[in-house]
Symmetry: C2
Subunit: 196 residues, 2 copies
Amino acid sequence: MTDQDRDLRARLVAAGVELVARDGVNALGLREIARHAGVSHGAPRRYFPTHRELLAAIARHGFGKLTDVLAGADALTATTGADARTRLTALARAYLGFAAANPGMFELMFRHDLLEGSGAELRRTTLPLFLTFAGLVAEVHPRCDDPTAATAALWANLHGLAQLRAWGSLRLVTGGEDVDPLLRAALDAHLGPATR
Amino acid sequence: MTDQDRDLRARLVAAGVELVARDGVNALGLREIARHAGVSHGAPRRYFPTHRELLAAIARHGFGKLTDVLAGADALTATTGADARTRLTALARAYLGFAAANPGMFELMFRHDLLEGSGAELRRTTLPLFLTFAGLVAEVHPRCDDPTAATAALWANLHGLAQLRAWGSLRLVTGGEDVDPLLRAALDAHLGPATR
DNA sequence: GAGCGCGAGTAGACACTATCTACACCCACC
DNA sequence: GGTGGGTGTAGATAGTGTCTACTCGCGCTC
């Protein structure tokens, strides 16, 4: 089954995913996506009433991908019988890795000026991810009095690291490209020093 | 001295600041800013060769404002003889407060797809801020072996909290609007539990 | 003081965009 | 075999950012 055979809805999203990976968010014009999918500029309207709804669908695809990446990373460490701290480290690395490997998509996913309206559905996707995080954090901090806050704080830290790296601020401030020391500092802070 | 008297460069930036505060990033079209400043759509070109350079100037204004807000907050606590931990808490609250009070500007400031090119100069503005943070973190953690990483990790945490709140993710995940528990969790994690 | 030059802002052209509308086509169904 | 509805095309429209004359007014020079 080629691209031409799939229904246009999926082809448009796929075209958007390719474009944003290759040329960034600014390449996601409606006509540009339609051209890349090999249809006229009016065709997308049949499936996505507005440009933003198409972008939201592309971002949704990104959230699905992120979920897969994180689930895959966790499955890998979980089967080795790793403890919660190790699993959280792997998840964090996977999160930052996704942001670094898909900078355009990562930016699109958190551009709420483009995505507002369909935001509720998009955000719902992140909830299962968060719950996985929360379970592991609760394992590391068995007697934490507010595990939700602790998890959200850690999650925000990861997100901030990903965002600031994408923006180039960390390079300016730390001198190097490597976020790993910062990630380890963040994990040490939130989860306690690594035991080894 | 009225708006009409000031030179157009400053008036355009002021118009952009007003527009982004009122209607968000999407309202910052070149022609829209020119209209709001009361000039023709070709006038800005004399001072800003491209639309993005105008946006960068507006963002630069935002960074200046953020610097002022943080410096003001720190000055307030420093004069009371507060310790480093208290000063960092005040700075963190001021950072989150700025992001909450100026969501459009905050988004513009970190939209590197709009600002790339003039990014280096913009980012340079954040360096003094970072150094202030670093000095206070070093006071809290006198024998930290990598204070730069610790500071960057904390900064990323604040930034992530601001960003995720602006995006609405925190409300979804924690149930409430209040970031304060998350901020306290982050500060406890990075600076150790509050002594009181 | 008259003439010139030049900087500032205007206005229109151009290519492009998103949205809307009318139209052609093809396949399924009666 | 004709018909209807869904699918994609193509043009119109309003708006955008950039580029290019052009006008106007002020200050300097002869």
